[in-house]
């Protein structure tokens, strides 16, 4: 249950798809004001499919590793499939349980990605998972 697994540290130290795209079709950025974590996602989209993706920003290991893993996952995926990604998918990628504070860190990249995919304001919001 150690949250500093090698896998996470590897992604933190050598993140995949780190950087920006020159002409992204979609670009969205958000921060977590509580801890200052910040993620930007640039997407190149063709026929509804993510051709390329880059993330940038800074923050704790969890937020950065989650972003790195997420970019690996979604490259080549349909935008509509990205919309279906959930909290549980991120937890599975990270492979460790997260407490409530770290969960916000872990989900920041997904939040940014989804907000981008939905076109920011169209997104129903992360809280909707809660609905019964």
């Amino acid at each position: 249950m150690n949250i500093y697994e090698e896998d996470i540290l590897d992604h933190y130290e050598n993140p995949s798809n780190y950087g920006t795209l020159e002409k992204p079709d979609i670009s969205y950025e958000e921060d977590n004001p509580l801890c200052g974590d910040q993620i930007r996602m640039d997407l190149e989209v063709e026929d509804g499919v993510i051709k390329d993706v880059r993330f940038s920003g800074h923050g704790c290991t969890i937020s950065q590793a989650a972003a790195s893993m997420l970019t690996e996952e979604v490259k080549g995926q349909a935008l509509d499939d990205v919309k279906k990604l959930s909290k549980d998918d991120i937890l599975e990628m990270l492979g460790i349980p997260l407490g409530p504070v770290r969960l916000k860190c872990g989900l920041l990249a997904l939040k940014v990605l989804k907000a981008g995919a939905y076109g920011i304001k169209g997104w129903p919001g992360e809280e909707d998972d809660e609905e019964e």
Partner: protein, 416 residues
Amino acid sequence: MHVDRNEFHPLEVDRIREDFPIFAGDSPIAYLDSAASSQTARCVLEAMDGYYESYRSNIHRGIYHISEEATAAYEDARQKIARFISARRASQVVFTRNTTESINLVAHSWGNANIGRDDEILLTVMEHHSNLVPWQLLAERTGATLRFIEVTDEGLLQLDDLDQLLTERTKLVAITHVSNVLGTINPVWEITAAAHSVGATVLIDAAQSVPHLPVDAQALDCDFLAFSGHKMCGPTGVGVLYGKRELLEEMPPFLGGGSMIRAVQRERSTYADVPARFEAGTPAIAEAIGLGHAVDYLEKIGLDAVHAHEQQIIDYAHQKLSEIDGITIYGPKPRMKAGVITFNLEGIHPHDLAGVLDTTGVAVRAGHHCAQPLMQHYGVIATARASFYLYNTMEDVDRLYDGALKAQNLLARRQG
């Protein structure tokens, strides 16, 4: 008294009584004051002690184990309570200190933003002071007018003239679900529907209903619902405000401080989403966790069964007390009310009645029950009130009856 178990005991009261420490011992108290504050279930105390003994910490921001555990337990309690009152989302449950604070929160945050000089607030004459004084203060701040649904001699709401009372000036209807004095169960669904038809917002004071009846906030369709943990087998120090999502989200903050903010600058701040926006400072963590367990406990027993049990008792209490010479019982017939019986004995001050009952181990309340306008309606200053809950027995009623006779013997000598 020998009774048919199925008929009179839908609850296994003997087993239930074991869940409440106060009834242990040889001469347990006949506790007939649950409408003021109920006993607290052992499982609730254990849950709170569990927090204090093994994961005591502050919530929300902690990154270490026990703080994550505390946060999860606190939010879990919110989920349980949301489910208990059939709220759509956990975020519609705001933790407060008690019903009183819940109502004041609405009066300040929603009230200041939505009530103006020409507006009317419709209440009833049977409101507890906690669902009256906050609106008096709001009316003072805004110039709004209070109007009242009258009470019939039988103790029911006088709803014939509801149509006249509800106009397009009515911005808020704030009514009690169950009267803490008369026990009357008000038709809050119908009143809510009528209020909504003129565009009014509806707050239900559920302090006496959520502990005793199944309450479905979505089905009632009320906009706000307020209740207290200490009346429903929970601890003191925690209450709940339920609100419709759109309303809560639009409401400005009430108390400012830690945890209710998004970002703070020297001169101004932005605020967190609900429910955090309304929970400034360190909340009643142990108490919220305890209330979650109280809800588990009540759900396991079933609110239908609790209500049926109280119905049996109150039926019997009416029957038995009616035999007493010089008694006046206030409020409707047993079938139309919850487990409360309020009365006076001719020539005996309710304080003295309660005092004599106390010498026989029977605890009842005597006074105005925080409902002076209702007392004024009945032309009395005080009454005695016995209120029942899932742990009360028919024997408690017998002890109440015997004690009342003893008080008459002792004190009503001047009469005769």
